[in-house]
Symmetry: C2
Subunit: 487 residues, 2 copies
């Protein structure tokens, strides 16, 4: 199929361009009629939300290596086929971490009676012995503070009690969650707790990825609810406090999974690819409605709607539903590796992974002149409040391995201010997604994708990345790297 379709598209392009003589097809741009069709369909058909219900209510949680993930892959393939969009699977080996049963408590003392802790092991953590792990807590605010405490950390459970209160704080706090256990273990700690990275809490723990240094000791790591972090802080003000942790989590052998890849071949430059990404995996809690079910259905819907256009856009629109964003980024890396030879022809990559919220505008990571290429075509999004180029970097964890190839990134920014109320928690469920906002964001994604595939020129490629931005070796890569936050 891949060899046949581009040919037909090229032929079609020749045929449609035939009547006009001197003016090349390249001078026409995205059409207002297409704007009506794409935006009208996204706003009125409710197709993205219905798909999100299938994925969240029908499939549910879909952590890498789980049965849920397998079911999600099959569902995605089936859905693209139903939409008449060409689809295939590309193999990815993914980690398989399982949670098991878990609990925590603050044993009672003379000063206070026992408290139960609302906690969740972090993804990738080792478990505790079956009888649990009991140790004194030592509270810090930063990774640096651990080193400064020296000997005091030895034999303790380190509590990283940061001050995240708004979505914009996520990036900084995420470093504590990801790196905290190794930093604490290196200083002699026996366990690690992190205050949940949350902007709202009803005693709700939020899980997330962590990783161990290859050469360092591995200690159990869990997120406690904001309330429990504050409780520990208050109890510590009165003297020593012990916690007991029982984490049944473990890492099983890697599992076979897939990136689900689908595309609408371009009519004129089929080898030029506009990549639309989202991740199909989720954590094992909640049903991954905002993270990243919403992104998945937005890019699927963009492909479905663009796939119905006659003629097809100039360039190929390719959707990648990445495997294993949450706890390994194996899907993003596998795509970059498998498609290394065609990354020079990836003219843009757009990842949706900040929730199914109302769109705010378009962000770019491109060379000089990028904004001038895109901005004139955003007028159809003005009535949705998304008709401008907005500040803030474009990107996403799954497309970050494309940075060395200098692929231009485009982002449809959404209002993620409430994303971290539910992110990585049991509360990330369908009811949290507003069908209207999801439809609006879907319309923006569909239109921007079409613009990128149809606009006469292509985005200038960004400068070569600084060394620090290049993806690191797999063992040290930014697993569960911070998501782009709302501007």
């Amino acid at each position: 199929m891949p060899s046949v379709l581009p040919l037909s598209a090229a032929l079609l392009s020749l045929l449609t361009a035939a009547p006009k003589t001197p003016a090349p097809a390249a001078v026409t741009g995205p059409s207002p009629q297409v704007a009506e069709r794409l935006i009208g369909a996204a706003l009125t058909e409710g197709h993205a939300y219905a798909r999100l219900a299938e994925l969240t209510d029908g499939i549910g949680p879909r952590l890498s290596g789980s049965e849920g993930e397998k079911a999600a892959v099959a569902w995605a393939k089936r859905s693209f086929e139903a939409d008449g969009v060409k689809v295939w699977l590309e193999p990815v080996k993914v980690p398989r971490w399982v949670r098991g049963t878990e609990s925590g408590r603050v044993p009672g003392t003379e000063r206070y009676r026992e408290h139960r802790l609302a906690l969740m092991a972090l993804g990738g953590s080792v478990g505790t012995p079956a009888e649990g792990l009991t140790a004194e807590v030592i509270e810090v605010r930063s990774l640096e503070e651990v080193a400064a405490l020296g000997e005091k950390v030895k034999g303790k459970v380190v509590l990283f009690n940061h001050s995240m209160s708004v979505a914009a704080d996520y990036g900084k706090a995420a470093a504590l969650r990801t790196r905290g256990a190794s930093v604490a273990a290196k200083a002699g700690a026996v366990g690690m707790l992190v205050r949940s990275l949350a902007t709202a809490s009803l005693r709700s723990p939020h899980t997330g990825a962590m990783r161990y240094d290859e050469d360092g000791p591995r200690i159990p790591a869990a997120a406690v609810s904001v309330e429990d972090a504050e409780l520990l802080h208050r109890l510590l003000a009165g003297g020593p406090v012990k916690v007991e942790l029982k984490l049944g989590c473990q890492t099983l052998p890697d599992a076979d999974s897939f990136n689900v890849v689908a595309e609408v071949p371009g009519r004129e430059k089929p080898r030029e690819v506009v990549l639309l990404g989202a991740h199909l995996d989720s954590w094992d809690v909640g049903t991954g409605a905002h993270d990243d079910g919403a992104g998945v259905v937005m890019v699927m819907e963009a492909a479905r709607l663009i796939g119905k256009l006659k003629p097809a856009p100039r360039r190929t629109v390719r959707v990648v539903l990445f495997a294993n964003e949450e706890n390994g980024l194996k899907g993003g890396r596998a795509y970059a590796e498998a498609h290394a030879g065609e990354l020079a022809n990836h003219v843009a990559a757009l990842e949706m992974d900040a929730g199914g919220f109302k769109p705010l505008g378009v962000a770019l990571r491109a060379g000089p002149g990028g904004a001038e290429l895109v901005a004139p075509w955003l007028k159809p999004l003005e009535a949705l409040g998304a008709g401008s180029i907005v500040q803030g970097d474009a990107g996403g964890a799954d497309i970050s391995p494309l940075i060395p190839a200098r692929v231009p990134f485009v982002g449809v920014k959404v209002d993620s201010s409430r994303y971290f109320d539910v992110h990585h928690s049991e509360a990330d469920t369908l009811d949290k997604v507003d069908a209207k906002e999801l439809a609006q964001a879907t319309a923006a994604v569909a239109w921007v994708s079409y613009v990128l595939a149809e606009v006469p020129g292509v985005l200038p490629r960004p400068e070569a990345p600084l060394p620090a931005e290049a993806p690191k070796a797999p063992s040290a890569a930014p697993v569960g790297a911070p998501k782009p936050s709302a501007p």
Copy 2:
């Protein structure tokens, strides 16, 4: 002690009144200097909040019959003694219901994969068999709908999926939680689920009391999170849905507990009692910070501050920290019974049980002329926004057994609009109580209590209650009756 102190107070009253000859002490009223002292202390000393930390962080959950409840009784007695306030314990037999382990799930089908349910057994529920109970769900909105469904209810788990969205809806929804299991069982249901009575949810189940008809079948009953009620609703739109419930709860033999009673004897009319009530018990989840730790510390603080006044107010201010409000109301009933002979001298009863929120004003349930007696003295609360008589009934579950004795009720209304975000859930913890708002409400309670104890006249007693308002026989009494909601 009780026989000695009133005498001393009466003597003191005679002594202080001695110099003045014709003007009787009765013409003087609450003093502005006392307003300064009470309100100033409540707003600046932070004593109520510190006490609330002791009760919530130090003692924690305190369900009737539990070790936590015993510890709370001892703490309250000790605290009154430390405050120099006379205190004693009055025995109450309380039910002892224990939760055990519990879980629920929606087994997977062709249409959807398995979902876990976030649920909590309702207090008083029987357990399921150890292997669980599996049955189809049938969804209703009201008790009446169960009867209308007839045979269709047989063998099913009835889901009461009401529409509570604001605090004012609580009363209506609470009837479903309290009565739903018996109504469903009578129609042949084998289990009962109720959508949590909550105004916010992050997959957070909210427990609460239920009761069985004496002569009816007893089926297991639990609250599911709002999210899970909505999930079941969506799944039911596509066909039959089964749930599996495993509830390990059971009712053990009644336990010995106590109402904690404390008082500041009146200087002139020590037999006239202004009763300040709150309940010391809580549910077994969360730490009962708003429900009703806040009420407890407010009335304790009122007694502490009034107890330091020289001279004491004209009448006795008595605090009752009731046992077992949540799942039996045995404390409220025991008080009414033990003090039946002096209820005619209870000139007012004020119960704080709607959370530790900012005060909004004063509500009354009294005979004609009651507002005229109290309103002139509320000026000192104006700067706190609580200086007026407000609409809405005064009352409270624990003082409801005083209705037949026509005791006038006074309420310091607080802004309970966010009370049901955390009420009866794991999230009812100290961090949810704003120290400023708690101090403001405490100031209002202290001042209003003093006014009632000092004002020359007494509130006219309300009309005799309508028969429907009289407390019913114990077996049919409104266990866990709706709390007064915010005006």
